[in-house]
Symmetry: C2
Subunit: 256 residues, 2 copies
């Protein structure tokens, strides 16, 4: 089955979507057959590939068994990268999946036993900033979770919460997802964000990727053009950093 | 009953908590008896008043009827400002409240008919970055909703989604909450964020507050010290702006 990387942090606005999208593009550029799954009802990753309206069928339909994995995949402008899009229906997913203990494993069953096996080498999942049934589906399906965090005080709290939530899943619910590192995003050279970055490195040591993603105006410029920043400005701060982080992620996944 | 202002945007990381906290402090400084309600399971507003651990009883207990409004309120360092804190239990609130159509009105009943009437002139609610039962409780209870948004492409999408979700609530569900304006946050003078701000002003006109909240390093410095930025640096960019926006909000609430 494919390696499945969930990109998660309970805190909002820490660059989960920016990270998931750019890493998926970089993995595909290296020749891996990649599927990016957008599990966020906001649909930013789906919009990031030019879909101004969310498609009628997508990720929740696969999770709920209404549609096969292969038939819901959309092509992207990048060879070897396909998208399982967010849909409007994701907004009601928490209610649709509530109350059914087994519903947390739906996506896992599709990715680990179903059709996905022949279709992709790597799956990247963009998670919403919440910790409900949708995120649980991602974390049960994932073999690894990447925790992006902006080094500010609230996001630092969010990182700690997310870290403990994942530990609890592994211990109590026998989920096998392991943390594939902490990625510092939107960092600055000086000031409170630089202090925050140092504090997180001191606290989490090797878990933090050596490469951080600097604040870079090209990220918003790229989003305006529905392009990943690694494509719009590969030699810029964020572009180069995402290329380097993809290599570091692969090294961690393969246990180097 | 008190005026109830929900601070909401489905998009994560747009300064909902920073805005709710600073406006609550400014309103209290003007002599209004204010209660800040933290409905976000992340508990950033609660941590923002120095609570390193979430208290055992709080907002969800009031919503679910397990605790009276008055007995759950915590004092803050600011006279006339009290906090109804987030608790760990909020993490399971979506599941606890799911499946019960009437559960969306629980907070509204407490704020409009219950004890809150004698206790506060203004209530400010910090919402999570999601659109489930917890946020619905806030929007049904609110008389007005303030929509903070960072002028970047994803948050612009989030603003449009949030705007339509509120319109739909008013039309289909007879909620009486009205939009009390759009607040541009973390803005810049030039570049894509300045372009985004201009686009939002062109699209929403008078709905957008004349004052915007500039990007200001003092916001993260203040969060590190568990202080609102209007207290740490009242003469700085964000500090002055939040004071001005509070006056603009009051003018909109009183229909000037
Ligand atoms: N390296 C960067 N430099 C500058 N801005 C950035 C960077 N990374 C992300 N951003 C900006 O920060 C905002 C938040 O990023 P993004 O939407 O990817 O975060 P998220 O964690 O997915 O948010 P949500 O919690 O709402 O899903 C984006 O609008 C983006 O423009
Ligand atoms: N005017 C500003 N200047 C600089 N940074 C800011 C400003 N306002 C907010 N921030 C930073 O942006 C981050 C996000 O703000 P905040 O946590 O208030 O947003 P939020 O919408 O409440 O996020 P969530 O969706 O996770 O609840 C904070 O860590 C804060 O440091
Ligand atoms: Mg996102
Ligand atoms: Mg918040």
């Amino acid at each position: 089955p494919p390696a499945v990387v969930a990109v998660f942090n309970h805190k909002g606005g820490v660059a989960k979507t920016t990270t998931a999208t750019n890493i998926a593009v970089c993995l595909a550029a290296r020749g891996w057959r990649v599927v990016l799954i957008d599990l966020d009802p906001q649909g930013n990753a789906t919009a990031g590939f030019g879909h101004t309206r969310l498609p009628p069928v997508g990720a929740l339909d696969v999770v709920a068994g209404r549609c096969g994995f292969a038939e819901c995949l959309l092509p992207t402008p990048f060879a070897d990268l396909r998208l399982l899009p967010a849909t409007e229906a994701l907004r009601m997913a928490e209610l649709e999946l509530a109350g059914d203990e087994t519903a947390v494993q739906l996506l896992r069953d599709h990715l680990r036993e179903g059709e996905a096996i022949g279709l992709a080498d790597m799956v990247v999942i963009d998670c919403p900033p919440s910790f409900g049934m949708v995120t649980l589906n991602a974390l049960y399906a994932a073999t690894a979770v990447l925790l992006p965090t902006r080094p500010d005080p609230y996001a630092h709290d969010g990182l700690l919460n997310s870290w403990y939530e994942i530990k609890r899943l592994r211990q109590e619910a026998e989920a096998d997802v392991h943390v594939a590192g902490i990625l510092l995003t939107m960092t600055e050279e000086r000031g409170p964000l630089a202090d925050g970055a140092q504090a997180i490195r001191a606290e989490f040591g090797q878990q933090v990727y050596p490469t951080h993603i600097p604040g870079d105006v090209a990220v918003a410029e790229a989003a305006q053009l529905s392009l990943p920043v690694v494509v719009l400005d590969p030699d810029g701060g964020a572009g180069r950093a995402y290329v380097a982080v993809t290599a570091e992620l692969l090294a961690r996944l393969h246990g180097d």
